[in-house]
Amino acid sequence: MSQDDPHAHNDAVDLPTPTAWPIITAFGLTLVFFGLVTNLFVSLIGSLCALVGAIGWFTDVFPHPKHETVPYVPVDERVKEICREGREVTHLNPGEEGHREHVVFGAVHPYSAGVMGGLAGAVVMAIVACAWGLLAQGSIWLPINLLAAVGDPGLANASMEVMKQFSFVGLIVAVIVHLTTSVLVGLLYTVLLPMLPAKREWIWGGIVTPIIWSALIWSTIRFISPTLAEHVNWMAFVASQIVFGLVCGFIVYRSTNVATQQTWSVSRRLGVEAQRPNKKS
């Protein structure tokens, strides 16, 4: 090791020499400040003190920082041998090899599938919702504006006539909210579906989740958006949610499984290689 560590000798090690210059400098500086609230004379003494400290400090590190050589402590005071027997490590579930794991639940769907599923679900869901708007309410813009009203104060207080008209802000807000949520839910499907009881993924993704989600919204809608609460048609709402769930779940379910990257190091996952060569086991 010694060649890597220029400060270590066979039986001693170089350490920086203890010095009082830092405390003198710090004390001087504090006196400078203390003088501002008492008497400028104190500041004067303080600045002299700080100057002396700074000069002394300078001589300490110039041209090379001062060191003193400290001997190692006696052998019996040194660190004890680390106990190597160690303790056994419990194995994973019977039948599984080893005792270490990065937990993976079933198949791993690629995240791209989640994004795609979310987007496809978003489109289908929008079609169902707009169809409801057009057929039942006579306006394709109503469902869009209703969604936007959750976040847009202008639409939240608008009358029914205004809600049925085209609104540029409403469209933008609705599209952003709709796409963000859909993609997030799509991603959630890729990670959560494999954790649920196998073979029934479509029930979970297509029916159960949308119904739970709808129930959550139904119970809190008065607070989330009074406007939406007033106008929403729950049949159409649940229908569009289920359509989303089915489409998104289907796309995720059909995707090819990929190897997980989770055993990779941070640097490798980020695509930058740090100092050590890759040693994937």
Binding site: A20, A26, L29, T30, F33, L36, V37, V75, K80, A274
Partner: protein, 566 residues
């Protein structure tokens, strides 16, 4: 790698300059060592020791505040005395208690954890400590200078965020605001020096094999904290310089009667102030990251995402400052923007909480004292985080801000979060620093009294906040629904004080009488446990070489090292 230091013990050359007349252990010798030292371990302990000293003083102030508020229309304290107390309590707790204690942990542990002999700039390290130390006394000198003890001196009475124009010459006569400014300014110099030192140490002095991806999360977190310090402290220094110019040289940056802006101070202060909150709470996370895995006997769950969450928290924290200013009349767009960024903080924070739960899940949790404090931290920090979300909802904040709800919220963050992990850290590393375990019985007394006292004190403050009680009131009328909650709150203080008493007793008692700890009492995995307790001046005879995140696991299980799997 042949080594023969074991046979050379009689050949030690006494090269260290001997200081005549001063045997090891004598009082003057100890003082001299403390004054002269540039050793990161001694400085770390001095940081923590002086931080705890100021903690007790500031805690006593809080006790007096609570006595005053126990009953309505109390005349225990004069309004001015009360205002000085809450200002000094807040200022001291943040700047000369919280910051030094976390810097103490960093100073002591970061070099050992990365397998270095000392900090990168040992003299600057000493300088940073002494700047902080003297700034603490400068702050408290305000009680004795000026009108003196008779009229409680000219201690700052402008609140810890010293909003202008209350600090301008017209409204703050005498030197009270100047003490606040100058003490924090000089302390800030020390903090910046220490932070730069920490960054350089972490970046440049890691032992062989300690890549960034293998650094203990403790070190990672403190690296982030140090970056936040050097980005956030200078703005404070800058606006303090402007305030001094206002007060001494007649400038008008923040003097509204001469065309200055009151809002600008708030922006500048919170550009510092909000990252400061994360400077204080991230070290709590750092300590959690070390203790939870060791006592659950498992590696940390999701190391990469924990690192990423740290970085995300630090990054977002730089863009949320104005959520302290929802009530100043910003435009609706401004309010919405800062509400959104603030809520985003919940995401990485949530990740951390879940990952700690994930670490505990499937482990064998040893319910030792450090772990008990960590479990309570999880519970309390959860509450603090959720009340934080409530405060981030800007309309809700219009009701909650500057009420006792906020007081409850940040005490859940800073006591329930930071202080509990500081306690956990002290119980965990005390054996390393002094070679003796802290007493278990006293420790349990401390834990239970303090936990109960903490919740009894601060939980009711959520409710008095809901009932419209503003903070910083020295008195209140009966009949407004606040009496009961304030009384409960004050009763809780008794338990907290008792807890702290047993804690201090434990620290002193165990120093002489505690059970011998040995090198590695907790069967832990990071490098500080690979040296003696207390470590020698040079930390390691030979610098370690690591191959994984848990170097001591590799040594304890030579057939089954971590690096085969990471």
């Amino acid at each position: 790698m042949a080594h023969g230091p074991t046979t050379a013990s009689e050949e030690y050359i006494e090269v260290a300059p001997s200081r005549p007349g001063q045997e090891k252990g004598s009082f003057t010798r100890i003082i001299q060592e403390l004054v002269f030292t540039v050793d990161h371990k001694k400085l770390g302990l001095m940081y923590i020791g002086s931080g705890l000293f100021f903690f007790v003083i500031a805690g006593l102030m809080a006790t007096l505040i609570r006595i005053q508020l126990a009953i309505p229309n109390n005349h225990f304290l004069e309004p001015d005395v009360f205002n000085r107390f809450f200002t000094m309590h807040g200022t001291a707790m943040v700047f000369i208690v919280g910051m030094p204690i976390i810097f103490g942990f960093a100073n002591y542990l970061v070099p050992i954890m990365i397998g270095a002999r000392d900090m990168a700039y040992p003299r600057m390290n000493a300088f940073g400590f002494w700047m902080f130390f003297f700034s603490g006394f400068l702050l408290y000198a305000s009680y004795f200078a000026g009108p003196g003890l008779y009229n409680a001196g000219s201690a700052p009475d402008v609140g810890w965020f010293a909003y202008s124009p209350l600090t301008s010459r017209a409204f703050s006569r005498g030197h009270s605001s100047d003490y606040w400014t100058l003490a924090l300014f000089s302390g800030g110099i020390g903090s910046i020096a220490t932070a730069i030192n920490l960054i350089v140490t972490t970046v440049s002095l890691r032992c062989k094999g300690m890549t960034l991806g293998r650094m203990p999360l403790f070190v990672w977190t403190f690296l982030v904290v140090a970056f936040l310090v050097i980005i956030a402290m200078p703005p404070l220094a800058a606006c303090q310089i402007m305030l001094l110019l206002d007060r001494y040289l007649g400038a008008a940056f923040f003097d509204t009667q001469n065309g200055g802006s009151a809002i600008l101070w708030q922006h500048f202060f919170w550009i510092f102030g909000h990252p400061e909150v994360y400077i204080l709470i991230l070290p709590g996370f750092a300590i959690m990251n070390e203790i939870v895995p060791v006592f659950s006997r498992k590696p940390i769950f999701g190391y990469p995402i924990m690192v990423a969450a740290n970085l995300m928290i630090a990054f977002i924290s730089l863009g949320v400052w104005a959520h302290h200013m929802f009530t100043v009349g910003m435009s609706s767009v401004g309010n919405a923007f800062f509400a959104i960024t603030t809520m985003l903080v919940a995401v990485p924070t949530g990740i951390k909480i879940f990952n700690w739960l994930g670490t505990m899940h499937g482990g064998k949790i040893r319910m030792e004292l450090p772990m008990l404090f960590c479990i309570m931290f999880l519970f309390q920090f959860l509450i603090a985080g959720l009340t934080g979300i409530m405060l981030a909802v800007a309309p809700f904040d219009w009701q909650l801000s500057d009420s006792y709800f906020v007081v409850a919220h940040f005490h859940y963050v800073l006591i329930g979060g930071l202080l509990f992990t500081i306690f956990a850290g002290i119980y965990y590393w005390y054996p390393k620093a002094f070679g003796r375990m802290l007493d278990n019985k006293l420790g349990h007394l401390h834990f239970w009294l303090f936990t109960i006292g903490f919740h009894v004190t601060f939980f009711p403050q959520h409710i008095s906040g809901f009932l419209g009680m503003p903070r910083r009131y020295y008195t209140y009328d009966a009949g407004r629904g606040w009496d009961l909650w304030n009384m409960i709150s004050t009763i809780g203080v008794i338990f907290q004080a008792a807890g702290i008493f047993f804690f201090v007793l434990n620290l002193i008692w165990s120093y002489w009488k505690g059970r011998k700890a040995g090198d590695d009492p907790w069967d832990a995995w990071t490098l500080e446990w690979a040296t003696t307790s207390p470590p020698p001046d040079y930390n390691f005879e030979h610098l370690p070489v690591v191959h994984s995140r848990r170097p001591l696991w590799d040594l304890k299980h030579p057939d089954d090292p971590d690096w085969k799997y990471e």
